[in-house]
């Protein structure tokens, strides 16, 4: 069975510049990124000029670009990458945090994060029944005995969630309790996260099919006093849970596993603990909500699904914390923006 080839010019690499000097980041990624078009989005809070090495096919977006498009959506900190998602004209996006570099295998060869993400997105996902040999479309694997034949075609994969060696994406209390722990385990698998299973979708190393799921990856849940460390954010976790709901409803797949990036040590978990970890408190409230969400049959595209979820968030979670009400408003505004940008310059080759 042949699956569509994804061409280099169908992919945008989006990088949120939270720190000003991107030289070492870009040089580390050059062998892998050089073939692709890059969208670099500068954190609006960052005062210093960005330092970006030469030789990349890229577009840079800054505060003035974001202000021109919307003044109500908060594109600060890690959320600035959503602006990159918004203005991209490509079908697929790969996004990597600026404190990550390519991971290496035992022989020192770089793992090609982009190629693996593209492979994950290209090959079908299998959310309706778990395959114990993981992704059956990987070379050397297949569906196991007992896997129903009618489910072997799979569905389109909308999101590919990668992982991290060295500094794993733990929350601050977990990392603070184990300050020396680093993720040294390379798990050579990618698998489809089953239908209805909730998951924490980390934005550190992620790729998606912008055409089918773009509107569901949005900057919604902004914590007060949100900082420039991943420990201090839940924006990706929040939209990730919404995006998984949307995928489940629309019959799209979400994969998790390879590729890995190497995440550099940064920040101090214990320092972060001093800030109130509101994000984790909020997560406790949302689980029963997400378990109960049912989207109507009439919602057949991601935009409609996001609007439905936003309405439910406003109604059910708004009373729990005003941040949820703000998130719901942001989701509605995001869909409006998305439609406006799409109609102004539709994505080619749809």
């Amino acid at each position: 069975m042949s699956h569509p080839i994804i061409k280099d010019d169908e992919v945008d690499i989006v990088v949120a510049a939270i720190q000003p000097d991107l030289t070492s980041f870009m040089e580390e990624w050059r062998p892998i990124f050089c073939r692709f078009h890059l969208i670099i989005v500068k954190d609006p809070d960052l005062q210093k000029e960005l330092i970006i090495p030469e030789g990349f096919n890229m577009d840079l977006y800054t505060k003035s670009d974001m202000d021109r498009v919307s003044t109500s959506i908060l594109f600060t900190g890690y959320s600035c990458r959503y602006f990159g998602y918004l203005v991209s004209k490509k079908k697929y996006i790969v996004a990597v945090d600026d404190d990550c570099i390519p991971a290496k295998d035992g022989k020192g060869f770089l793992f090609d994060v982009v190629a693996q993400h593209i492979s994950n997105l290209r090959l079908p996902a299998t959310p309706f029944f778990f395959n114990t040999l993981y992704d059956p479309f990987q070379k050397g694997a297949d569906f196991v005995r007992g896997y129903p034949f009618s489910l072997r075609n799979g569905v389109k994969c909308a999101i590919s969630c990668g992982l991290w060696l060295n500094l794993a994406d733990y929350d601050a209390p977990t990392q603070a309790l184990k300050p020396g722990e680093r993720n040294a385990r390379y798990v050579d698998a990618v698998l489809t996260v089953p239908l209805k299973a909730m998951m924490p979708l980390s934005g550190i190393n992620v790729a998606f099919n912008r055409e089918v799921i773009g509107p569901a990856l949005f900057p919604g849940l902004h914590l007060a006093g949100e900082g420039k460390q991943r420990w201090e954010t839940v924006e990706d976790i929040w939209c990730g849970m919404c995006a998984k709901l949307v995928c489940d409803h629309l019959g799209l797949g979400v994969k998790s596993g390879v590729p890995y990036v190497w995440r550099n040590d940064r920040g101090d978990a214990i320092e972060t603990l001093k800030k109130e970890w509101l994000g984790m408190k909020l997560m406790e409230e949302v689980v029963p909500f997400f378990q109960s969400v049912r989207l109507p049959r009439t919602a057949v595209v991601a935009e409609d699904c996001v609007l439905e979820i936003a309405a439910m968030v406003k109604e059910k979670l708004g009373p729990v914390d005003p941040l949820f009400g703000q998130a719901a408003d942001a989701m509605v505004e995001w869909v409006r923006l998305w439609k406006a940008v799409e109609s102004a310059s539709p994505t080619p080759g749809a």
Partner: protein, 356 residues
């Protein structure tokens, strides 16, 4: 922090092995399995004698023993099929069962070190499962792993693990059509992960390398009617796995899959397999939606109660596909009756599987 030793559980765990051939394979497992009591279930011709390597403590049951012990209820135990192994689960008096096929050898990890499969199973089964929310770094209770950012704290204690499903290097557990198309494919990918299968998700459970907590889920581990006189084969472990998963989901128990790997040495004949599986391949298209939609009542709080309810649903909903399911439904009830007879509840004991 020093890593604690994994307990041997040698007085709490039985190893159940079905065989028609011989048990020479135990020789290579000796360093890992000798401390344990074995329950050998001899399939096929009961007059044949099975040679067991010296130094192993075991009990052996052949068809005559099964008939003698169960009387008329022996009809629920398959004949001429490794499904008969579930008789071993029933007669065991231990808390945990490890079952392994006699063509499964010790595997090596990528560093070349031999894998003590039972030790890994024990680690899996003694640590909680996390079926309500997927952890992207897999089993958070393994050394060197943890829950990732965004994982709700209220769900981090997890639930008791009822099943540890291991995998296989070398000959993969493919169905007959896939074996025919890819006769030379070998599983060479060592995936260093254990993960909980989320609630509400079914999976194909393979009985080659499996451990379970008999007290939590034993009565649901019925391997169905296969082999001699039956219209299908090679669906025994599948059937058990679907029943087990529905019941585990209902009772709030966890099922893990992944490590440990064993080395599966023998490729079965795909033409023979096709004959056995043929009907199953069609039937599973109805069986899967049945299990996906199956719900159990709030009154079903023990495994036995859940299983009896499930058997009624099998009769009602699958009976129309083929009379086989009528017979299977009755056999499921017989199995529970036999289980309860051989395993009467101890006086002060709570019903097993009750969780809330």
């Amino acid at each position: 922090m020093a890593v604690p030793m994994t307990p041997l559980l040698k007085d709490e765990l039985d190893i159940v092995i079905p065989t028609i051939r011989n048990l020479e394979f135990l020789e290579m497992w000796r360093p890992y399995l000798q401390p344990y009591h074995l329950i050998i279930v001899q399939d096929g011709d009961p007059t044949r004698s099975i040679k067991i390597p010296e130094g192993f403590d075991y009990e052996l049951y052949n068809r005559n023993d099964i008939n003698r012990i169960l009387g008329p209820k022996a009809s629920c135990i398959s004949f001429k099929d490794s499904a008969c192994r579930c008789f071993g689960y029933m007669v065991s008096k231990k808390k945990y069962i490890f079952t392994i096929d006699d063509d499964c050898f010790v595997a090596k990890d990528p560093s070349g070190k031999e894998i003590n499969a039972l030790e890994q199973h024990i680690k899996n089964i003694l640590s909680p499962s996390t079926p309500f929310f997927f952890n992207t770094l897999y089993d958070p209770f393994r050394d060197g792993a943890d829950f990732v950012r965004g994982y709700p704290f209220s769900l981090r204690p997890g639930v008791p693990t009822a099943v540890s499903h291991g995998l296989w290097l070398n000959i993969p557990d493919y169905d007959a059509p896939t074996q025919l198309v890819k006769p030379l494919e070998r599983n060479t990918r060592y995936v260093d992960a254990v993960l909980t299968i989320p609630k509400g998700t079914l999976f194909p459970m393979c009985g080659m390398n499996l451990t379970f907590n008999r007290e939590l889920i034993g009565p649901a581990m019925y391997f169905g009617l296969m082999g001699d006189g039956q219209p299908i084969g090679r669906y025994d472990d599948m059937w058990a796995g679907w029943c087990v998963k529905v019941i585990c989901d209902h009772l709030g128990l966890g099922v893990k899959t992944g490590l440990p790997y064993i080395w599966h040495s023998k490729a079965s004949n795909p033409f023979v397999n096709l004959k056995k599986e043929y009907k199953g391949i069609f039937w599973q298209e109805d069986i899967i939606p049945f299990f996906q939609a199956a719900t159990l009542s709030n009154e079903a709080t023990t495994v036995q109660q859940c299983y009896i309810e499930l058997s009624k649903q099998v009769k009602e909903k699958l009976g129309k596909i083929d009379p086989y399911f009528d017979t299977l439904s009755d056999a499921m009830v017989t199995w529970i009756e036999a289980w309860d007879e051989l395993n009467p509840p101890k006086k002060a004991e709570l019903p097993n599987g009750a969780a809330k």
